[in-house]
């Protein structure tokens, strides 16, 4: 990427064999690469068709603009260029671009860590490293392939925009480049994380934490920009803040595109430098000495699950905590903002205290949903350890002891669910406190916001049950556990804004129950969700006891 190939210059290392390794990655990960390349446009391009149906000058377009002008819109969209004359293009740039960036970043992180640190952790890179390949060749190959992949994702999205005549050609292509450039920035970031952390899981976690931090940094910076605060420059420090600074479809400028590209080169160079100076198989974080025995001499399965997944619990928990602490004050001050700006209220179609409260509650519900999805992500990745244990033969070691399979599965699922619910409770309480800290709402409102997290509990339990069922009954498709989580994420962004029919929310347990603090919750859906969970866990235990252990 940066250095000349195979020059043998010791200070820059060598990339001999890079081309063959890149072809190896293309062959090995072809399914992953194809899925990302197809799924990102397939999910986002249809969303655009909904924007193009809106007349630019119509009241509904201006109502959307009013939403984007609120603190909620700023946090989940951006600083809001072109709101005064809200064209279809401006809608795409304000409402969709950030999520395209996030998805490109996720693709970059997951693909790059999989191709580098994960391979190294599994010991396969050792075989490769012993052949005639340069020290940085594996990194160079992964960087090349994943960089090409995110560029392709961006270009396909950009070209896809051309299908919509409302979207200007040049801006459409610029949008594609902006998404690609953001993806490239995260390719570099993930490459650094893969050098620092000693495990694939750790590297992905580190890079995902950087992504979450970028989101929050940009949210804080954009809010400051809109409100004219002194810290407007925070957005310029965030890789998620650069693309929308191009003012796509409004008043396009090209130079912000250079920032993510420069960032990608800089982080890529850092990863390159680190890769040349560390031992294979090791991260930069040192190994520690541990206990010579189990403290109580009776470390059980539940304790094992906790020890295996506490890193993930901490990571996702801190992510959720940061989210609610950052959003809490915005939720608290939203009410005052709308009341102080009656024109916004009129555009939003809200009148009176009740109407304003409904808007605040909707925002609060969105934050609760995202925090809940963080906990679901913990639960799915934690249960994934059951599958990786099985594939590595650790489950065989464990099940050669007098432990029933159903008990192993049940206890693992129970422990993960308990940790997820406890973490969700803590995050919910933190959210309530953060809302209350804005001093704009009563304590009862804050308590309601905190308690709303409990509405996500049935969905979390179903998530755990589904993941357990897939691992037990069709382990090859265990990754499908992520579908309801991903669906709820997109349903929340796109479903309400684009007027998806009401039944679409029942496709994910997270969107099925209203998470707003004021909404009525009837017993029926809760009972149904818990019943589904019970059936899934029961079926999972049966299936797990009946099939051959994989390894």
């Amino acid at each position: 990427m940066t250095a000349g190939g195979g020059s043998g210059d010791a200070s820059w290392g060598s990339v001999t064999g890079c081309w063959q390794l890149a072809r190896g990655i293309l062959r090995r990960d072809r399914l992953r690469l194809a899925i990302w390349l197809v799924a990102v446009p397939a999910v986002t391009l249809p969303a655009m068709s909904a924007y193009t149906g809106t007349f630019e000058t119509s009241a509904s377009a201006q109502a959307r603009a009013a939403v984007m002008a609120t603190p909620t819109g700023t946090v989940f969209g951006g600083p809001g260029y072109g709101l005064a004359h809200y064209t279809t293009g401006a809608m795409v740039a304000n409402e969709l671009l950030l999520y395209l960036d996030v998805v490109a970043a996720l693709a970059a992180i997951l693909l790059l860590v999989h191709a580098t640190r994960h391979e190294e952790e599994e010991g396969r890179l050792e075989l490769v490293g012993a052949t005639a390949v340069g020290r940085q060749a594996p990194l160079a190959a992964a960087l090349g392939v994943v960089a090409a992949e995110v560029t392709a994702i961006g270009l396909v999205v950009g070209l896809g925009c051309l299908l919509y005549p409302d979207l200007r050609t040049i801006d459409s292509l610029a949008l594609g480049l902006a998404v690609a450039a953001t993806g490239l920035a995260f390719v570099g970031l993930a490459a650094v994380a893969a050098q620092v952390a000693g495990t694939g899981r750790g590297a992905a976690g580190l890079a995902a934490a950087a992504l979450a931090a970028s989101f929050l940094l940009r949210a804080a910076g954009d809010t400051a920009t809109v409100q004219g605060d002194a810290v407007w420059w925070l957005s310029w420090l965030s890789p998620l803040g650069w693309a929308n600074r191009m003012r796509l479809f409004v008043d396009i400028r090209w130079w912000p595109l250079l920032i993510p590209l420069a960032f990608a080169l800089a982080t890529g160079a850092v990863a390159w430098f680190l890769a040349a100076r560390r031992d294979q198989g090791e991260g930069l974080l040192a190994q520690r000495v541990g206990s010579p025995g189990a403290e109580s001499r009776r470390i059980g399965i539940a304790a094992l699950v906790w020890r295996r997944t506490r890193g993930a619990a901490l990571g996702w928990g801190l992510g959720g905590l940061t989210l609610v602490l950052a959003m809490g004050p915005a939720v608290g001050s939203l009410r005052g903002y709308i009341l102080d700006n009656p024109s916004i209220g009129r555009l939003l179609g809200v009148s009176g205290d009740a109407g304003v409260d409904a808007v605040v509650e909707a925002f609060s519900a969105l934050v609760t949903l995202y925090a809940g999805l963080f906990m679901a992500a913990y639960a799915i990745s934690a249960l994934g350890s059951l599958r990786s244990d099985e594939l590595a033969g650790r489950s065989a070691l464990l099940l050669a002891e007098p432990v029933r399979r159903g008990r192993l599965l049940g206890l693992t699922a129970f422990t993960v669910a308990a940790v997820a619910l406890l973490a969700a409770t803590a995050v919910g309480i933190a959210f309530g406190l953060a809302v209350w800290a804005s001093r704009a709402v009563d304590l009862t409102v804050a308590i309601g916001v905190a308690a709303a997290m409990a509405r996500a509990f049935p969905a979390l339990i179903v998530t755990v049950a589904l993941a357990a069922f897939l691992i037990a009954a069709c382990p090859r498709y265990a990754a499908l556990s992520w579908v309801p989580v991903g669906y709820a994420f997109f349903h929340a962004i796109l479903g309400q804004g684009l007027g998806w029919p009401d039944w679409t929310r029942y496709l994910s347990p997270f969107s099925a129950l209203p998470l707003s603090p004021a909404a009525d919750v009837s017993a029926a859906p809760v009972v149904i969700l818990l019943g589904v969970a019970l059936v899934l866990v029961g079926a999972a235990r049966q299936a797990y006891a009946r099939r051959d252990l994989l390894a």
């Binding site: 190994q287 009776r298 033969g393 070691l397 007098p402 252990l549």
Partner: protein, 319 residues
């Protein structure tokens, strides 16, 4: 449960993974108090058999019968596991636990470890129990699994290539442990590629190939069936030797002859040699290595290998 019941009784066991037949009518019998060697080339089905004996995977139906300690390993896995210990050949451990914690974890699942035994084994195998599993080498991971298994009270030990990755010193410690288990009346099924280890410790041997049992019995019995190795320095030529039935893989060079001969023809062979005039003579029972090779390899390849082996063991014998 009477002690008369065999520890392991497997008859015409079948297991297919898709189109691949891993086990194709395998038989295996291990009596109580016996150390049984379980041999076979890579991919012969040793690990598959052991995983069926553990109830981790299920034999194909209809299949013959599988009984371990008088129990059905699939239906009564938990009950069975209370009475046995297992060491896999390729040990993978939970990366965030230390070796000591792993031993205690597996022990607590077993219903408690013998703490004195645990300490003694850690000492004998020279394991540092404070290190995280992810920092252990293959040999050290193997030690963790061995210590966890050997410190658990068990009637039957299923050991799947338990010494792979151990250094020769640790192999010797392991052999001692096997002797102790045997002295205490325990039963062991030892799958191994280290023939010296099997020869030294095992009472009986079962050799499998392509999912079938090709030979089983006590080592003495098996040796009886196989060819002896003869090496002699002769004063004159022995032209009749090559024509004798039962003489195989004859090599003659510079007054030195080397060949394998079937059981029962030794007398006639000796007469032939004596006629030629014997300067020196070594005649040994077949090593397990030769037994192993005669069953593993096919036709011509087998002869070539057997020659190579006999050359090696001859060199060892005369040294």
């Amino acid at each position: 449960m009477s002690d008369q019941i065999d520890a392991i009784r497997v008859q015409t066991l079948r297991k297919a993974f898709g189109a691949v037949k891993a086990l194709d009518g395998l038989d295996l019998q291990v009596e109580r108090g016996e150390v049984a060697g379980f041999l076979g080339p890579n991919g012969a089905g040793k690990s598959t058999t052991i995983r069926i004996l553990l109830g981790l995977i299920r034999a194909d139906q209809p299949s013959g019968s599988v009984e371990v300690l008088g129990l059905d390993p699939w239906a009564q896995a938990t009950e069975l596991h209370q009475r046995l210990a297992y060491v896999p050949g390729d040990v993978s451990l939970w990366p965030t636990l230390t070796g000591g914690e792993t031993i205690d974890f597996l022990g607590s699942l077993h219903g408690g470890l013998d703490q004195a035994k645990r300490a003694q084994l850690i000492d004998r195998f020279e394991l540092d129990p404070t290190r995280k599993n992810r920092t252990y080498s293959k040999g050290n991971r193997q030690k963790v699994a061995l210590i966890a298994a050997l410190a658990s009270p068990a009637e039957l030990y299923l050991l799947d290539e338990p010494t792979s990755g151990l250094d020769p010193l640790m192999e010797a410690v392991f052999t001692e442990c096997l002797t102790e288990i045997k002295a205490a009346g325990g039963t062991v099924l030892l799958s191994s590629h280290i023939l010296a280890e099997v020869e030294e410790t095992c009472d009986t041997v079962t050799i499998i190939r392509a999912g079938r049992t090709v030979e089983s019995g006590s080592l003495a019995d098996l040796r009886h069936l196989a060819r002896s190795q003869v090496e002699a320095r002769l004063r004159g030529p022995a032209p009749g030797l090559a024509a004798l039935p039962g003489v195989h893989a004859l090599v003659e060079e510079a007054g030195q002859v080397r060949f394998a001969c079937d059981h029962g023809v030794l007398e006639r062979v000796m007469a032939e040699l004596v006629q030629a005039g014997v300067e020196s003579l070594t005649c040994g029972p077949p090593s397990l290595e030769q037994l192993f090779l005669s069953h593993y390899a096919d036709g011509v390849a087998a002869d070539g290998l057997a020659q190579a082996v006999s050359a090696r063991s001859g060199a060892r014998g005369s040294a």
